[in-house]
């Protein structure tokens, strides 16, 4: 697939296995900078594993083996210091996981972890970008755990943004949110376009359509189809993709077809 923007992340023949089970089998993908790329697919297709391999969180599991190459701005991520890598590629998780600290401390945590000084300016800017500032500006010192689920998730986004990453990975961020909170979340994602590169994994096909510029459809550890969102949704090349988008059941075998 040819893409006109510069590609921030280039994945080549990526293979991730847990023990003797392959979760991700040979993925090639180029992720465009400044755009939102969605990864969709049924449960267990490996999309979360793929996402986590991009910031090397897969290494937390001893049994995990990763082969292939992934580059960020041309640098091999596996040759980098993993902690430095994660300062450039941030992640928001499915279930909001704010730290048991105040809102302010949460947002500035990453900054402090990197040895920087957390300033009020960073705090405000990150919260604004996550579309959360207005709701918490009077509550900066109260515990993050008093926020609603949707607010907590946006707080996690703000926390992620505070360290100024280049890329933000999102693993089903709306997974535990109600529809209203989901919409607010999507608003913040849209607000990030242009300044950040976002890769979002979701099982909600419509959400992918709403927020993303590019969509990848994964099945059984492989990328079946990848292209501009409009193209994939309106005129998918493969039948299995069309099936999935229409809500029909797809089997693993179809992936290889």
């Amino acid at each position: 697939m040819e893409l006109e923007m510069s590609n921030v992340i280039e994945v080549e023949k990526l293979q991730v296995s847990y023990g003797d089970q392959d979760a991700v089998q040979g993925i090639d993908m180029k992720i465009a900078g400044g755009k939102v790329t969605a990864i969709i697919g049924p449960s267990g297709c490996g999309k979360t594993t793929f996402l986590r391999s991009l910031n090397r969180l897969t290494e937390l599991n001893e049994k995990c083996r990763v082969h292939g190459s992934v580059t960020l701005d041309g640098e091999d991520i596996f040759a980098m210091d993993p902690v430095s890598l994660r300062r450039r590629i941030g992640m928001v998780f499915q279930k909001p996981n704010p730290f048991p600290m105040s809102v302010k401390d949460n947002v500035l945590y990453g900054v402090k972890a990197q040895g920087g000084r957390g300033t009020r300016a960073i705090l405000e800017e990150s919260l604004r970008k996550a579309v959360l500032w207005d709701e918490v500006k009077d509550r900066l010192f109260s515990s993050a755990l008093t926020l609603s689920g949707g607010q907590q998730q946006r707080l996690c986004i703000a926390r992620c943004l505070a360290v100024a990453p280049e890329v933000i990975l999102m693993d089903e961020p709306a997974g535990s949110l109600d529809p209203g909170a989901t919409l607010q979340l999507e608003a913040s994602i849209l607000a990030m376009k242009g300044a950040y590169t976002v890769v979002i994994v979701t099982h909600d096909v419509q959400e992918a359509r709403r927020v993303s510029d590019y969509t990848a459809f994964m099945l059984s550890g492989r990328v079946v189809e990848f292209g501009r969102t409009e193209d994939v949704f309106e005129s998918a090349a493969k039948e299995v993709t069309r099936d999935y988008l229409a809500g029909r059941l797809v089997t693993a075998a179809a992936a290889v077809a």
């Binding site: 969180l57 998780f93 279930k95 996981n97 972890a113 515990s143 926390r159």
Partner: protein
């Protein structure tokens, strides 16, 4: 049925305990010869010993717990965990024997040197020959200016023994507390660019704190209870209340030892106690029980507070 034990023992303790108690029980002298049963020295003995033991044991146990849980690369973590299991199987009295070894290898070289009174060289302690021997110390050719056999009775030695006893007890509990910290918190920290040490310090350990507090409380209880083994080293008579900072090398005896001594009447007696000794002995045990309950209550409250703060 464990609960019933508590109920049962109270009457047994109260009955003989209460009536003879009021007589000078908190006096600071204690001597079987003179039949003065002051409990203050023994209480302070327990406190001192427990403080020393826990102070020594806490960092070690915590370090072991961290090694056991965080060193997931390679064999180090696994070896540690196996070691903890093995060390935990050592029965307490064996540690009492350790005292002998420790005295030879550690206490004497560090605290008494290898000189007798006759061969004593005042230059080694920086005193000049004119001021030696100090005039207010009675001259006794056969003795040191300090008593190296006192080392056997030192609180420091007892503290080291008890510390070694409670470390394998506390460390697995702390390790469990660390392991129970939800992975999501750790991942969130790593995902935002913190390294593992920062995560450990700011996220993992604070979240594990309630469990660690529980482990420490149990360690304190065990130290108070098993201080008995110290009887091997220190004996069971607590004579005076030592000054905590300077008399680390003095003799003190914890409640368990003293009560045991009073009740048992050692050195070959038939093991039956008489009169006041009995009552005071029982009272000592009662004190111990009360202290235990207090500690458990305090630790439970503390844990609840900590948990509320982190909403775990």
């Amino acid at each position: 049925m464990a609960a019933m034990l508590v109920v049962n023992s109270l009457p047994a303790l109260d009955n003989p305990g209460l009536d003879q108690l009021t007589r000078g029980e908190f006096a600071s002298q204690f001597s079987t010869g003179e039949r003065i049963f002051g409990l203050l020295p023994t209480i302070s003995g327990t406190v001192l010993l427990t403080v020393v033991a826990v102070a020594l044991a806490l960092p070690v146990a915590l370090a072991m717990a961290i090694v056991a849980t965080e060193f997931t690369l390679g064999p180090v973590g696994r070896v540690m965990r196996a070691l903890l299991g093995v060390l935990g199987g050592i029965p307490p009295i064996v540690y009492a024997l350790l005292a002998v070894v420790l005295v030879e290898q550690f206490m004497i070289p560090k605290f008494a040197g290898d000189m007798t009174f006759a061969t004593f060289d005042p230059a080694k302690i920086g005193a000049s020959t004119e001021t030696w021997p100090p005039s207010d110390v009675p001259f006794n050719a056969g003795a040191y200016p300090w008593d190296p056999t006192g080392l056997n009775n030192s609180t420091l030695l007892g503290g080291i023994l008890v510390a070694m006893l409670i470390v394998p007890f506390m460390a697995p509990l702390m390790a469990d507390a660390i392991r129970n910290v939800p992975n999501s918190a750790r991942e969130a920290s790593l995902a935002v660019g913190a390294n593992r040490w920062f995560t450990l310090r700011h996220i993992t350990l604070p979240l594990a704190l309630p469990g660690i507090v529980a482990a420490v409380a149990l360690g304190i209880l065990k130290a108070m209870g098993d201080a008995l083994i110290v009887i091997f080293v220190i004996g069971w008579e607590a004579n005076g209340v030592p000054n905590p900072f300077f008399d680390v090398l003095e003799r003190t005896a914890p409640i368990t030892s003293t009560s045991a001594g009073l009740l048992g009447g050692f050195q070959g007696n038939s093991g039956v106690c008489t009169g006041a000794s009995c009552h005071v002995g029982y009272f000592g045990a009662l004190l111990l029980l009360i202290a235990a309950v207090v500690i458990v209550l305090v630790s439970t409250v503390l844990q609840a507070r900590l948990r509320k703060r982190t909403a775990l």
